[in-house]
Amino acid sequence: MKKCINEMKLSFSAVSENEAFSRACVSSFVALLDPYISELAELKTAVSEAVTNCIVHAYRGQSHGTVWIHMRLYSDRRVYIKIRDKGCGITDIDRAMQPLFTTAPEEERAGLGFAVMESFTDQLRVRSSRQRGTTVVMEKTLSEKEDDGYTDLQDTETRGRKLRAGTSLC
């Protein structure tokens, strides 16, 4: 087991304005590992999905709620992200994780949240109990600094010039 080199905990109100706020916080923290832009974009997207689930689903019909994020960075460049709510919980996790399944079609939810989290991280674990809340744990190991993490970039000039996401990009 590699050593945890940095850790942060964050809690905020479950309101939609905080979706952007949570992405910015996670980006700033992950930036300490100097990730590739593509990796940062993937983590931001996965976090946005998990936080949006808390806001749209977990606390639906409740006047207020809190979302907790706990992050750890490991010496082997592994990023651990735990996102937790104390909302209504998920009745059927397997069903909820099926692509295109949504309980909020009226809000134009595409039902792709878990599919995106799964695709953009190395590991996804979901724990939930009714009326007590849901915990999502995602882990992703960032590529080594020498690797080219964005092989699909077609513009070779851009590729050579700037692949690393600086803190300004958060």
Binding site: S16, T52, E108
Partner: protein, 123 residues
Amino acid sequence: MPVELKIVENKLTAYLSGDIDHHTAAAMRTEIDHALRQNNIKILTLDFSGVTFMDSSGIGLVMGRQKLAAELGGRCRVADPPAYISKVMKISGIGRLCEIVDTRTPVRAGVRRDGEITGGEEE
């Protein structure tokens, strides 16, 4: 504004900008739908070139506009999604529901891969 609208004859182009998430998508949706209903639009183009971030809320936005455009007798297409957004689009399979076009002129010949029209996609 997160969305700028341009109407030419029966074509509506919505230039989306900034981050698209559950919070911002709601305002974009209202504006686009208003313009769609007020005008006799046959082709709605959602221009993603100015979008800096998108999660699956953006997919919901496209699906919803495609549905409404079809109900009104038109269709919806997606233009110029940046590379990091194309990946979310690919996972969703939205390309099967509406056309994804690249309207940008290649800067230099030979930079793009053969037959690649979506721009910045990989596999």
